[in-house]
């Protein structure tokens, strides 16, 4: 297990380097000076611009620039936001918890929906329950999050007037009231994102359970009279969930897509909406840093999933 962990951690580093290389290539291929905005912006003194050029070493050979860029990205030296006038890392650290809270809750909700529905579907394939579940899953991942979000706002905020449709990070209340307000404003973004992720996960869970349920040891358990519920929970689900863990990791890059969209619709002050506002404001350092943070998060979650996978299925870590 120890060598497995070490190997996985070590392979995450080249992946991160590779992703950063792609990012850097995109940036280097882009026409024009990334700091052009500063040249035309009268509010920014030329010294700042020269300092930035020097800080990013824009006149050095490309390999050196990449090495330096990657180094400073890893150390969290992401530069200075043109628009907000603060260091980019401060801006991101401020916004990241909200994003992680929404994403984490959404993923939990997705699991809470997908596990029962997927298991029930797979227990009796092609039955009525399965048909309904599968159809709903199809509808779920064909409904784009931005459309569901708008429909939710239309129904719950405008028509029923139950939930606020603007997310506020600075709620003044304290105690129970604070918790309640946070819950109320979090419900819509989390549900929209969670149902979308859950719909896909349902398909994964269903096919994974279907694979396991027809194996010999399940028949053995049944024929020796183990109660159906015990067979299902102890023998089927436990083994079926192992591949689902990997699929969760595959979903991670995608959930960030959903995060950007839902944060934008519900005006959640996370890094997804920061990315959009920065793009609209041509705030290059922030855009680069956020894309990099997303990449690091993806690699990190994939690593965690892999380690979990090795822990759940010891055969993997012996290979």
């Amino acid at each position: 297990m120890g060598t497995y962990v070490l190997r996985r951690v070590l392979t995450a580093i080249p992946v991160l380097a590779g992703i950063s290389l792609i990012l850097f290539t995109v940036l280097a291929l882009a026409p024009g000076d990334p700091f052009q905005e500063l040249a035309t912006n009268p509010n920014v003194p030329p010294e700042v611009r020269m300092n930035l050029r020097k800080q990013f070493g824009l006149d050095d050979p490309i390999m050196l620039r990449y090495a330096r860029w990657f180094g400073s990205m890893m150390r969290g030296e992401w530069g200075f936001s043109f628009v907000s006038r603060v260091d980019v890392d401060k801006l991101i650290v401020q916004r990241l918890p909200t994003t992680l809270f929404v994403l984490g809750s959404a993923q939990l909700l997705a699991l809470a929906v997908a596990l029962p529905v997927g298991i029930l579907s797979a227990r009796k394939p092609y039955s009525l329950i399965d048909q309904v579940g599968t159809t709903l899953a199809f509808i779920g991942f064909s409904l784009p999050t931005f459309f569901t979000g708008l429909l939710f706002i239309l129904f719950f905020s405008i028509y029923l007037d139950w939930l606020p449709f603007i997310y506020r990070a600075d709620i003044q209340a304290t105690g129970v009231r604070w918790l309640w307000e946070n819950l109320k404003q979090g419900v819509m973004p989390i549900t929209v994102l969670g149902l979308f992720q859950g719909a896909q996960l349902t398909r994964f869970v269903r096919s994974s359970v279907l694979d396991v349920i027809q194996l010999d040891y399940i028949r053995t358990a049944r024929s020796k009279g183990v109660p159906e519920r015990v067979t299902l929970v102890k023998h089927v689900v436990r083994n079926a969930l192992i591949p689902v863990v990997t699929l969760l990791a595959i979903q991670v890059p995608q959930i960030f897509t959903g995060a950007v969209v839902t944060e934008q619709i519900f005006r959640v002050p996370g890094i997804g909406s920061l990315l959009i506002t920065s793009i609209l404001a041509n705030d290059t350092p922030v855009v680069m840093a956020i894309t990099f943070v997303f990449s690091v998060l993806v690699v990190m979650f994939a690593l965690v999933a892999d380690l979990l996978y090795g822990w759940l299925d010891p055969r993997i870590s012996f290979r």
Partner: protein, 313 residues
Amino acid sequence: MAGNGATSEAVVAGIPRVTTGRADSLWREAARRFRRHRFAMVGTLVLGIMVVAVLVGPFLYRVPIDEIDFRAKLKAPTWAHPLGTDDLGQDILARILYGGRISLAVGVVAMLIGIFVGTTIGAMAGQLGGIVDNALMRVTDLFLSLPQLPIFLLVVYLFRDSMRRMLGPELGMFILIVAPIGCLRWMPVARLVRAQFLSLREKEFVEAARALGVPAPRQVVRHILPNAIGPVIVAGSLDVAAAILLESTLSFLGLGFPPDIPTWGRILFDAKDNLDFAPHWAIFPGTAIFLAVLSINFIGDGLRDALDPRKVL
């Protein structure tokens, strides 16, 4: 020597005929299986209607997409404007029909790019093997772990202005949207094609072709690729749905097509701030995206059932 050549000629001439015969019945069998998938048939019907509507519709429904009429702004559906109007009094049905062309075209073209890149890389990895295979598969894994939307947004953000200047606002934006989507979606196809190649390469009929001295490129194009096409078609159909979703997401965020090219996502972007007094403005284009994506996903599911020969129906 001459006799030898004639024999192999006859054998080679014989092979296409045999394969065509089998391929025909294989496709007919697939069509039969596909027709049994009820949802896939409904999806085909719905998507067919939508395609016909966006292709023919603008010729029959001759309301201009950009006729501004402030007296009729934000009107709910009426006979004059079957799907209502937006904040400039422009007809929403006309805009949806016109924008649908672009939304669907983005899906198809991005899928073709993704399939082309994926098949090429997968075929190279599977055929050449060894170090090439290893390197290409690492690259594939790398692309799989990219956060797609942020990278896509970054690319669009960085190249937007120069592409527009070079190719005009419409074509430039189209290429800028289609090319990155294709480049972000080829990985599953590459993996599928590689896996197919690894197993097909060792099959007897390929071995026979190799023994007859068929050059490697011809082995690939003529014998292996046609047999590897099934999973690629399935992946391709699902890619169309994903590309439509990605384009509408981008347009919904206000970073895609300009307002004079009303793709479905763009209409939603314009509509979202008027939700409380003009809900129809958002609901119709959103439903269009949903129906298109749902139909394509069902068609993909039907194709999977139809093209998987192991599955007994």
